[in-house]
């Protein structure tokens, strides 16, 4: 068989298996944990029945139906998979009667709008600075950059967000305190609204860029140092190729892991910038997941997680494709040793 197709088929099979394993975890966890959290949630809902009996009854009915608590486990599992297969992620409790999928898609644009540009920017900056540090190895520049990268890579985005917020929105009132746009406004495509949106955008955007840059830079720095020490570099160097060209070679060879890293990273984007969105009260999917977790909205937790894991596995698959296209050894069906 064509080695390329064979490789891709094997990876696809693996990813599907992983997806199934994840679905099993999602299915099993609420049912397997002692004290059955689902049951206690149902109990809680019944207790709240006084306040709004009709709504609570509806929620209760829906939950029973979706989780099928009264049926044997294997039937529950089949129904669970069947619903997922039909594209139904269930109904939220906290936002009853809205569907989970519907909720996610109304929160998603904010997360994507924030994360895609921020991730790409930090990726580009991180790679450039990382390569610079490697090129300037054993100089003051490298020592400074490396220390900065190490510290940044261990700085949680959300804490950075808190610091930025305190500095530029509380102490100096340059930027607004929270939200994606000023309260009272409705999203339109007008110039004033876009300006207002950008004004809210700056701090979360930079907190993600700065927070993510260190990790990319560290990875790139190590890769470039490794490549610079390789035999092919000293060979082309001795042939007189200019440093600029050699750096191009090294950069090209160091990029593969970084590209795949980026793809995987973009794969998790559906989850939003969980805690950063929380700090800024930014209405993205991260915020939604937080609401789901804090209100124990099981259908919403399950639904969002299934979506996140799907895009993540899809990203993994794309990475495999990239590898298969770029790595000549896969193209030619190289057999080791």
């Amino acid at each position: 068989m064509n080695p390329f197709i064979r490789f891709i088929t094997r990876r696809l099979a693996f990813l599907l298996m992983t997806f199934f394993a994840f679905l099993l975890i999602i299915f099993a966890l609420p049912r397997a944990i002692p004290g059955n959290p689902l049951a206690s949630l149902l109990y809680q809902i019944i207790q709240q029945a006084q306040s709004n009996p009709d709504l609570v009854k509806a929620v209760y009915k829906k939950l029973l139906e979706e989780f099928g608590m009264d049926k044997p486990v294997h039937i529950q599992l089949i129904e669970f998979l069947g619903r997922l297969g039909g594209g139904d992620l269930g109904t939220s409790i906290a936002f009853y009667p809205r569907k989970v999928a519907d909720l996610v898609f109304s929160y998603l644009p904010w997360s994507l709008g924030l994360l895609i540009p921020a991730t790409l920017t930090s990726w580009v900056l991180g790679n450039l600075l990382g390569a610079l540090a490697a090129y300037k190895r054993k100089t003051l520049t490298d020592n400074f950059l490396l220390t900065a990268f190490l510290t940044l890579s261990q700085t949680p985005y959300y804490w950075l967000a808190m610091i930025l917020l305190y500095a530029f929105a509380v102490s100096f009132k340059f930027f607004p305190l929270n939200g994606a746009y000023s309260p009272g406004k409705t999203p339109t495509l007008s110039i004033p609204f876009i300006l207002d949106m950008l004004h809210h955008y700056v701090l979360p955007f930079f907190s993600i860029i700065i927070g993510a840059m260190g990790g990319w830079a560290i990875g790139m720095r190590v890769m470039v140092i490794y490549e610079l020490g390789s035999d092919y570099v000293s060979y082309v160097d001795s042939l007189g190729l200019p440093d600029r060209k050699i750096l191009q070679y090294v950069f090209k060879n160091s990029m593969l892991p970084q590209i795949t890293g980026l793809a995987i990273n973009l794969g998790t984007i559906l989850g939003g910038a969980l805690i950063t969105e929380l700090v800024f009260s930014y209405p993205g999917t991260g915020f939604l997941i937080f609401r789901a977790l804090s209100t124990l909205d099981y259908p919403l937790i399950q639904g969002t997680f299934v979506l996140i894991i799907s895009t993540l596995l899809l990203a993994n698959f794309i990475v495999d494709l990239i590898y298969a296209f770029i790595d000549p050894r896969i193209k030619t069906g190289y057999v080791g040793e």
Partner: protein
């Protein structure tokens, strides 16, 4: 060999600095309650006071002492970090070592399992598990972090094991009739020691950050304190917007200092032990 390595290691400035920061904070957390005997959980003064001589790092919204919380928080964060790292390391080393030493079908199936766990994002699994638990003590949190972050250790240990067991000194010990267990202890493990130590250090910093992340979304420990919990409270009660900087800056700074000193430590060790990074 070992004394020489240790002597060499102390010459590395990066290592000295990072070790200094880390041990300093660790000592603060261990001895802190003796030097600064204030109960972090009890109300000691008026709420939301800025730092002063009475409250070096101010008080929180209920009038509890932030410095005392910080001391307790570092201690618990370190505790969770160590336990979680030990759990991951244990699982990773055992799976990796068996996989690498045995090979064959055992290897294939263990690695398949590892790959599955590696692809699933550990933070999601952590969140899932944590969300369904009502009570979460530090041990639980450590276990949750530990059981989700071992796969890369297993892979790395496996690779090391495979290359080491084909080394000639291992053959020399085998044809001297040494028992497998003795070969593993005397020949294989010492040669992986630096690696295992580095993995531990990285796992620990990862675990402390993961703990803080879980806490921030309300899935951290339900009783007691940690750096993440302080941050969580600070976030919950809008400390940033209300300008109560002493409440959220110190715990975050300590977390960053602990985690990045650990990372710096492993970077320094890596540069020392891997020749290609060491060279000019």
């Amino acid at each position: 060999m070992i004394p020489r390595i240790i002597k060499d290691l102390f010459k590395i400035k990066k290592l000295d600095i990072s070790l200094g920061i880390f041990l300093g904070l660790m000592l603060l957390s261990l001895l802190g309650s003796i030097i600064y005997p204030v109960d972090p959980t009890s109300v000691v003064g008026p709420p939301e006071r800025p730092p002063s001589s009475a409250y070096p790092l101010g008080t929180d919204n209920r009038g509890r002492d932030v410095l005392a919380q910080l001391i307790g928080g570092i201690k618990n964060s370190l505790y969770i970090g160590v336990i979680a790292a030990l759990i991951s390391l244990g699982i990773g080393v055992i799976i990796g070592a068996i996989s690498g030493y045995k090979g064959g079908l055992t290897d294939s199936s263990l690695m398949l399992m590892t790959d599955v766990v590696l692809v699933l994002p550990s933070i999601l699994i952590m969140m899932l598990i944590a969300a369904y638990l009502k009570e979460r003590n530090p041990i639980f949190v450590s276990i949750i972090i530990g059981v989700t972050s071992w796969p890369w250790v297993a892979r790395a240990v496996r690779a090391q094991m495979m290359s080491l067991k084909a080394r000639e000194f291992v053959y020399m010990s085998r044809i001297a009739g040494l028992r497998d267990i003795k070969i593993i202890i005397e020949d294989l493990l010492p040669n992986m020691a630096s690696y295992i130590f580095m993995a531990f250090v990285l796992l620990m910093s990862g675990a402390m950050i993961a703990e803080a992340g879980l806490s921030m979304i309300g899935l951290g420990v339900t009783k007691g304190i940690s750096l993440g919990i302080i941050l969580y409270w600070a976030q919950l009660f809008e400390s940033v917007r209300r300008g109560l900087w002493w409440w959220f800056v110190p715990p975050g700074a300590c977390l960053v200092a602990l985690a990045s000193s650990l990372l710096l430590m492993s970077t320094a060790l890596d540069e020392y032990f891997s020749p290609r990074l060491k060279g000019g």
